[in-house]
């Protein structure tokens, strides 16, 4: 769980090219400045590739923040 948060932080740091970015479960598009719709697509695609999971249509719209995303990834990994 903490692992996943740390790994996601690495991915976020790379994609936003910002080594000082600190990710918490509460992080969201509202708290991260550059998180626009284009970066969002990049993030989702990168996460799908990295963890070899697929987000179904509509699943992502339900998510409020990074914590929700972590829970969803974990659910998918557990189901594999």
């Amino acid at each position: 769980m903490d692992n996943l948060l740390a790994e996601l932080q690495e991915i976020f740091r790379d994609i936003f090219d910002d080594d000082s970015l600190v990710l918490t479960r509460e992080s969201s598009a509202a708290t991260i400045d550059d998180w626009d719709s284009l970066t969002h697509t990049n993030l989702v695609t990168a996460i799908e590739k990295r963890y070899k999971v697929r987000f179904a249509l509509g699943e992502l719209q339900e998510l409020k923040n990074v914590g929700d995303m972590i829970d969803l990834i974990q659910k998918k990994l557990a189901a594999k």
Partner: protein
């Protein structure tokens, strides 16, 4: 490993930092590309940017607002024109086709539906040609992912597959008669990936991405290869190792009769197929060279094997010795008069690949692994040899270089160089730019890097306008000798202000170096300058990393140095026209037709 070979996941995550690193490199060629898209194009453009940076370009992009490719091209082309693109890429997919016929469509009605779609695209190309005037890359279309008529879909006049196939054919016909239009074969690219890996409905519904990220990457790689080809950066030479690359086994140990080639075993068939692939590249103008750690005499025996597809005469250079491979490759580059950055090196040995890649800047060394069955597809995936047009030039190039090699042998037998030049029985056609050669002239301005005084690149439209404005003297030169026709190999272009002619361009193909062709071009230029009352010709030399060979070009031609610009070391040279006497001694000049 090149950027193009990175795992896609890594490229996606590390894109920003990779981009930053690539931007730090020097001598990037600035290029402006307008992408008019029928879907969200950001991902495609992000990937294209990285691939172009990796190929030595520094691209700036304009992207149409979502889905507004048609509006930008036809209704408001000035928006595109204001961006001043060097290239427009119209990126559309099957989702953008508007005139699909109803499934009940009859054979008689079918053509009008296709014609309607074609005319929509023709309107875009015409409008962009008028308003922007640059090259257009237009993709054709992928087949439908879910052909509702099944196998009948490509047969019935109501089938969408049939519609796409016919539309693609008509795009090809259009491109054949329109030199500004380059077709990107999306149908083939999507087929290679497989339509189920190409289109992802979730990405379409969520983000209006017309493709999977793998699809975007394949499209970006293909556009990058077209851009490289347009700017003369496609590769020209395939350098091959021998043992376990062109045949199985080690010829020095096993003997020429024991190498694995032919049709007797699956492995032998695979080596034969790879040799056939190499030969087919040679037939379309790619030069082949051997670079192998071997005894030369024994190595050559491999090509006398009755099953060997490749014969010695197919190689433009042959280095089999025990020197380091990168040194041999640099020697080959000198012999062929080509930059090693136009080379692709294929070797099954990772250690050799690694040293060549690290020692020779710009050479492409694909990671071909060591399974011969995969070599051809890995080389092909690099899209190294992309071409815009397939001219007679390309088809006979390998032969030209062979003839060059013969000339080099001949050269050694003469008492002096003039005697040698006379023995070549050269004749030159030097004439004003005319419609027959406009494309070749524009092409030469874009691909000549070494013998090029100003390295100014011209589009077809820009070359054409130098003729119509009446203010330029533009000459091309073709050279024939007893070994064959070298084709159109030199271009000079100057513009007149009062009684002075300023040389905008002076270039020549390196395959006719040291043939006095530049003297013949100067004679032709001065004669025409005299007719126009010009008293002074000013020559300009603008140094680049590649054109050092012509820094004393004007000096050799008898010009006097006027100025040297301190910062850039550019030089300006002057020639007095009235006192000039023709100097060509060794080339017969044919009577010009166009002036």
């Amino acid at each position: 490993m090149t950027i193009a070979e990175y795992p896609l996941e890594r490229l996606l995550i590390k894109r920003k930092s990779i981009r930053k690193q690539l931007l730090e490199r020097e001598n990037l060629k600035v290029i402006r590309i307008a992408v008019l898209g029928g879907s969200t194009t950001n991902e495609l453009v992000d990937l294209l940017e990285i691939l172009l940076l990796d190929s030595g370009f520094r691209p700036t992009f304009f992207q149409s607002e979502y889905g507004r490719y048609y509006e930008d091209a036809v209704l408001e082309p000035e928006i595109v024109a204001d961006f001043k693109p060097d290239l427009v890429y119209i990126h559309t997919g099957i989702q953008n086709v508007q005139s699909f016929q109803p499934v009940a469509c009859t054979e008689a009605d079918f053509p009008s539906f296709v014609a309607a779609e074609l005319s929509r695209f023709k309107a875009m190309w015409t409008s962009l040609a008028a308003a922007v005037g640059c090259q257009i890359i237009q993709n054709n279309f992928e087949l439908p992912a879910y052909p509702t008529l099944g196998n009948l879909d490509s047969v019935s006049p109501g089938g969408q597959s049939r519609f796409i196939l016919e539309l693609n054919r008509q795009f090809a016909v259009e491109a054949a008669s329109n030199p500004r239009l380059i077709i990107q074969d999306l149908c083939a690219i999507s087929g290679q990936l497989g339509l189920s890996n190409w289109f992802d409905p979730e990405r379409w519904f969520s983000y209006k991405h017309a493709n999977t990220v793998e699809g975007s990457f394949a499209i970006a790689s293909s556009v990058a290869s077209i851009v490289r080809a347009l700017y003369g950066r496609s590769r020209k030479v395939l350098v091959l190792d021998l043992d376990n690359t062109l045949w199985g086994g080690v010829i020095g140990d096993d003997g020429a009769d024991k190498i694995v080639i032919g049709k007797e075993t699956p492995v032998a068939e695979a080596y034969t197929a790879f040799q056939e692939y190499c030969l087919s590249l040679r037939e379309r103008g790619i030069l082949l060279a051997v670079c192998s750690k071997n005894n030369e005499e024994i190595a050559k025996q491999g090509f006398e094997h009755p099953d060997s597809i490749l014969k010695l005469e197919h190689f433009s250079a042959f280095k089999a010795n025990w020197d380091p491979k990168h040194e041999n490759i640099l020697t080959i580059a000198r012999e062929l008069n080509l930059g090693p950055d136009s080379f692709v090196f294929v070797d099954d040995n990772p250690a050799e690949r690694s040293i060549v890649e690290s020692q020779i800047a710009g050479i492409a060394v694909p990671d071909v692994g060591n399974e011969v069955a995969k070599y051809a597809s890995i080389v092909d995936a690099g899209r190294y040899f992309e071409l815009i047009t397939l001219g007679k030039e390309d088809l006979s190039r390998a032969k030209l270089y062979e003839e060059n090699a013969e000339r080099a042998k001949l050269e050694q037998k003469f008492a002096n160089y003039g005697e040698y030049l006379d023995s070549l029985e050269m004749s030159a056609e030097i004439d004003a730019f005319n419609s027959t050669y406009m494309e070749r002239i524009a092409q030469l301005t874009n691909k000549t890097n070494q013998f090029n005084l100003t390295t100014r690149r011209y589009t077809l439209a820009e070359i054409e306008s130098t003729v119509t404005d009446g203010n330029h003297i533009g000459l091309y030169g073709k050279l024939t000798d007893r070994f064959g026709d070298n084709g159109l190999i030199s271009v000079v272009l100057g513009h007149q202000t009062a009684d002075t002619l300023h040389m905008d361009l002076w270039l020549m193909s390196c395959r006719v170096l040291k043939r006095d062709m530049e003297v013949a071009m100067l004679d032709g230029l001065v004669a025409r300058a005299k007719d126009r009352g010009i008293r002074t010709i000013l020559g300009y030399y603008i140094p680049t990393p590649k054109n050092g060979m012509v820094q004393d070009h004007y000096e050799k031609l008898g010009f006097t140095l006027v100025t040297t610009e301190e910062a850039t070391t550019s030089t300006v040279w002057s020639l007095d026209v009235p006192s000039y006497q023709p100097r060509t001694r060794h080339i017969r000049i044919l009577e010009p037709v166009h002036g």
